[in-house]
Symmetry: C2
Subunit: 764 residues, 2 copies
């Protein structure tokens, strides 16, 4: 979607241009008179300035303003409500599905019918995985993976097709439940973020047109800005629901997801997260009475293992420091291996749907075998003489899983590996369990988790990365805790928390939000200084090696994400250096045939509108018009028989016609049928043109232009000449023109200098 | 400091301009040749683009880059260390000063020598207040108040004189200690923020030149961007040290203080706050052994009164809702009354230093009388039969203060009012004390606090608002809790926490940061949903009435703060509508006399540099040059005898010459002495001009221009003409041109429409 065309197109277009210009010239007097007569104030020009929709509502009546504000808060409330409900049902379903599976299997094990137990475990996992991958592959492939990279890219301005549709939402919820229940080492937090964003997008656009779930009174929100705001709130709600961490959710949305941040947005996201927190609490209250099946207190992750006061001193700093450093290295290694595996998976998945599903089944089979097989390799341990809970634990979660052992013995590895991920994390985080786990079991568990999480993420099913990373990190932390046992007075449970923090920091690279999420998970603020330290160290170390996991996935998916930093070589270029090819522009009053031809021959989304003499005294840039608006004009056939400005065209349109369409329903030029007669008519583009486009002079430093583009969240940036006399506009820049691939393609000599400062730039 | 001059000035300037132009014309060929010959790469042009200093270091050598990064992190570490040390010493000093005062007074009371006790209390308070107000008024008047509005304005781009100097820092620390110890109802959190910012600014600029505390190797940080970053980190460290709330501090700095926010800044602020948290913990560990006098566990505010689990249900929502609504109304009333009182105080303070000090003494006298007098009006209560702590409490903090009562009785009002603010808050927040306080005492305490905090803030001493607002809010919350006693199962201590939250929300209007600060203060995450709800309600209610307290104070001080929102009427204007008067520009090669004349006759900070034919093919905007750089050029006398570009001038300068000076040391044009001969020489401005200024076309909507200006943090915005042929630049916009006063002065008819949407705009 570059916004310039090749030479051949320009040559083709020349005849149209020249003929059209002569027509305009001959009727210019009429045009000017017409323009002066028209009641311009009566038409709301600024509706077309999507970036300035906010200003737009201020020009409306009080009732409409109130309606807008009330609706926006109501939508946030709705998003919070729906997301908390989804999050609750998700957990309820997972706990019950996986719970029943483990109860039946454990009962078989108790009766020492090991083979039957294995087959039940194996086939229920396979069945659940098969179902999840089938619906994902056949109904909504966009629901694959965590969805966080796609949402992050959307909030940066990249609208990947089909990520916010009803089928995606449906598959994301159902697929996530079945995939997580199938004992694959994948998380539900990432899918919850995508679910939240999806709910927000659908609620904001008033449901889905295709499924006739639309609310007419939501027309105000059909613009980029409001939709972006709502989706940010939805992401915050997603994390808030997944971890019961409302503040952490808000911070995650701001730190990791959002590319633009306003104080007002913080407030709104906070409101949404508060709704989630309050409703979740109410729903858990309902479940405490025992009506929710196997879903008990612990269903929603909240490992308040450290409500007791803990103490730590300067002597504990060195081991924690080392833990952070190794966590950072492991995190970056995790990112590296995951990106390699994803590349292999992409290669397999491209071969067809059947290969995708076979791959998912293969991973499920391997997982089942490992989870059931590995505990046999550890020795059974006698129950401690005075256990804090019944030993062995039967029919419920706990750390003394019997598995194949004799009565009064327990298998420590089984209580970690042959369990739901939530319960495994709870076991790892729990205090006073320093003697309950063997170093060997913990090490096996760590290695298994590390590789399973890498190989499980890429399967064709909704899959998050948070929980796998937490499990892996917690087991790694316990291993470190066991190794430094004598030199530290911190408990192993605390080491598990710090290990999880270091691994999260090394992989995801956010700091404040992860810190708050971990605090909210463990419910102990006294851990704060230690967690802060570990996160900072592991992030710093990991940044020396590669980018964060979401950026890696985003790059692998080819989403053109615009970085905050301008790359160093951009300082050596001016804007004029990256503007390529001749530009396509429209005259203020343009022939229908020209418009149709240009729209058909290019995929550009914005076109400068230029007034030439004698409409104006010189060749002047009037503004920029969007493809969508041109298509609407063509569809409504607001044509003039002669090239004059006509007032009556205004009455044909309402603001709704120019509202941003949902992602599933966009007009296409091919769908518009025009007769030969209509093709020779004219359109007055003036009322539909955004008259205040942002402009830069062609000698502007590219680094400055990219900052402007990024900070203001632009889609098009017009380049005007330094020295007047030529055309009033020399080019138009879009997101793609700022991509390193494009710039380095134009100026290959710059390539040798890039990259060497990646590490440094992340530190600044 | 408008950037245009009146007609008279222009008329005066004409002869210079014309003479100079003719000279340039005659030697143009030389100039062009010279420009081509000069080794431009060797000079670091971009050092002059302060906004792009970040890009600048990327063009440096690896060693310098490493030095820069290492130094920046080291500076953050230093800031964290110094601020935590200051915070610790501050608390240590206050606890001991105020502690000794209360111990001596209480001993007198025990001996029933009431009058002597009163005089000791009275005169120690008066003496401390007098000392604080004397040093503030005489040494550093800029240290008055909390300093948060000034720092906030600085981070918005307004550099108020003298706010970051060594005397200010000194007075802020010492004044805050003595003023808080003098039992005035003022806080130490606000001054800590200013202290943190001040430490950051001084550390960043390498100490103070005047006091010969400079580090030469800090030259990299003498630019706006780095200084702003460091000051943001310093503010975060201030809150972190004041409340022991590192995450809350970071969020406060981002939500309330910073006008520009980047992900990297979040990370750095987080690091600084982590250092504060870790060091504070270490220092408190040292004090636990009892070597810090009266400074015990509770010295640094941390009211972990709710470590026990609490439960609340839907039935508790209505009273909490009402609490939030009334808290919002009270908060906005507080803001309103405070602004009125500040206006009166300003009037008094303007009369002279002696009046300022008398006012402070008057407030101290009233406070002492109230604090000592009011407990006599409540009835003594018998000690509860089975108290959780000794009753009455003697020689330490606690809720059973004896005051004038008999043995086995206690005075509940005295334990709140005749106490340090920290201890009062701890008493209010503590659980299981529902029967220990009477409604009447609590109501008296609330009213007293409400008015004392309003009247105490404006005195000429460092004074924060956080603690007074928390005390007032907590007492209000307890009152509500007592009134709804039967309809709620929440404890009164919890109501106090919620009341404090509602009052903070109603007055300060931040949400996420306050929520986290309160969570970190109370150390109980289970309160989260309730606190979120209360904050949202009180903020919403209060926003209906007036602005937040810092904005009100900032407006009262006349600081030109640039709001995030563009005002509605700005949409009806174009940039051209606010550009006034003729513009002052320089030629690329300009006569010294012209430069001196213009610098003397105007206070402008930026001047467009224009190349005219035959230096260029047409009249072309070359860039913008800053006043500071012109002054440096004049001071270094980099003159040319003829109007040609000269390469040798480059060698006269180092990057350090153009570094941003500390606020206390700025060059003035009057200080530069030039001979008549020198006045007739020329300067080649090209190498010192920022060649990529941001520009807007004159027809750009003003609302869009202000967004551009605000989001990119600009100081100057050049306006270029829509139709070419005239001068290449039609005006220059600065912060002042976007101020409502300026715009409404030019277009008075817009004034009638403003203001009606204030409430709505805050909700969007």
């Amino acid at each position: 979607m570059s916004t310039r065309n090749g030479d051949s197109e320009t040559l083709l277009r020349q005849p149209f241009l020249s003929s059209q210009r002569s027509v305009v010239n001959s009727t210019s007097q009429v045009a000017i008179v017409g323009a002066n007569v028209c009641p311009i104030e009566s038409l709301d020009y600024e509706i077309f300035e999507n970036e300035f929709f906010k200003q737009d509502w201020r020009s409306r009546g009080k009732a409409q303003i109130f309606q807008y504000i009330f609706m926006k808060w109501l939508l946030c409330f709705l998003i919070g409500m729906i997301v908390s409900l989804v999050g609750f049902c998700n957990n309820l379903a997972v706990e019950n599905l996986a719970g029943i599976k483990f109860v039946v299997t454990s009962n078989m094990m108790l009766e020492r019918r090991f083979l039957l137990a294995f087959f039940i475990f194996f086939f229920s996992n396979l069945g659940l995985t098969l179902f999840a991958s089938l619906i994902t592959a056949l109904i909504a492939p966009t629901a694959t993976g965590s969805g966080i990279p796609e949402v992050k890219a959307y909030l940066n301005g990249v609208d990947a097709p089909g990520i916010f549709t009803v089928p995606t939402l449906f598959v994301k919820i159902i697929g996530s439940i079945t995939a997580v229940s199938s004992s694959l080492l994948i998380g539900k937090a990432g899918p919850m973020v995508h679910t939240g964003a999806c709910v927000a997008a659908l609620v904001g656009q008033g449901g889905s047109k295709r499924y006739r779930l639309t609310w007419k009174w939501l027309q105000f929100f059909k613009n980029d800005r409001d939709r972006r705001d709502l989706i940010t709130c939805g992401s915050a709600a997603g994390i808030a629901a997944a971890f019961r961490a409302p503040v952490g959710g808000v911070l995650f949305a701001l730190e990791e997801m959002a590319s633009w941040w306003r104080s007002a947005l913080l407030w709104r996201a906070f409101f949404t997260a508060a709704i989630v927190a309050i409703l979740l609490r109410a729903m858990i209250d309902l479940c405490l009475s025992g009506k929710c099946g196997l879903f008990g207190k612990g269903g929603l992750i909240m490992f308040d293992a450290y409500s007791a006061s803990i103490s730590y001193h300067l002597v504990d700093v060195p081991p924690v420091f080392i833990l952070g450093v190794i966590g950072g290295i492991l995190g970056s290694l995790f990112n590296l291996m995951l990106s390699k595996v994803l590349r292999i998976y992409n290669y397999i998945n491209e071969k067809g749907t059947i290969f995708k599903i076979l791959l998912a089944c293969l991973i499920s089979i391997c997982t089942s075998c490992l989870l059931f097989g590995l505990p046999w390799f550890t020795s059974c341990r006698p129950c401690p003489p005075d256990p804090t809970e019944p030993c062995p634990t039967i029919g419920r979660s706990g750390i003394y899983k019997k598995f194949q052992c004799d009565p009064n013995e327990y298998n420590d590895l089984a209580s970690l590996i042959f369990n739901t991920n939530d319960d495994a994390i709870r076991n790892l985080f729990s205090k006073n369990t320093d003697d309950e786990f063997q170093l060997r079991s913990m090490f096996i568990f760590f290695i298994t988790c590390f590789f399973l999480s890498i190989f499980s993420y890429g399967v064709v099913a909704p899959a998050g990365l948070f929980v796998p990373v937490i499990v892996t990190g917690a087991s790694y932390g316990r291993v470190v805790g066991m190794l430094v046992r004598k030199n530290s007075n911190l408990s192993h449970g605390l080491y598990a928390v710090l290990g999880a923090a270091s691994f999260l920091g090394g992989s995801m690279r956010t700091t404040v939000s992860l810190c708050v999420i971990i605090l909210e998970l463990t419910n102990n603020l006294l851990l704060l200084p230690l967690i802060m330290m570990v996160l900072l160290i592991s992030k710093t170390v990991a940044d020396a090696f590669n980018a964060n996991i979401y950026d890696i996935i985003m790059k692998a998916k080819g989403l053109p994400y615009l970085e905050t930093h301008a790359e160093p070589y951009m300082r050596q270029l001016t804007v004029g250096d990256v503007v390529t090819g001749p530009l396509q522009t429209f005259n203020g009053i343009e022939k229908v045939r020209n418009i149709v031809f240009i729209l058909k021959s290019t995929g550009h989304n914005g076109f400068p509108v230029i007034d030439e003499p004698p409409i104006s005294e010189a060749s002047v840039l009037f503004g920029i018009i969007l493809r969508d608006h041109l298509l609407t004009l063509l569809k409504k056939k607001a044509f003039l028989s002669s090239p004059a400005t006509g007032c009556d065209v205004f009455n044909k349109f309402s603001a709704d016609d120019f509202a941003k369409k949902g992602s599933s329903k966009r007009l296409k030029i091919e769908e518009i049928q025009l007769s030969e007669e209509e093709m020779d008519m004219f359109i007055d583009l003036h009322p539909f043109t955004n008259t205040s486009p942002y402009t830069v002079v062609e000698t502007m430093s590219l680094a400055k232009a990219v900052t402007l583009f990024r900070e203001l969240g632009l889609r098009h940036l017009l380049v005007i000449p330094k020295i007047s006399g030529r055309s009033p506009v020399v080019g138009i820049l879009t997101r793609h023109d700022f991509m390193p691939e494009h710039i380095l393609g134009l100026h290959p000599f710059l390539a040798r200098n890039t990259g060497r400062l990646r590490f440094f730039s992340s530190l600044v």
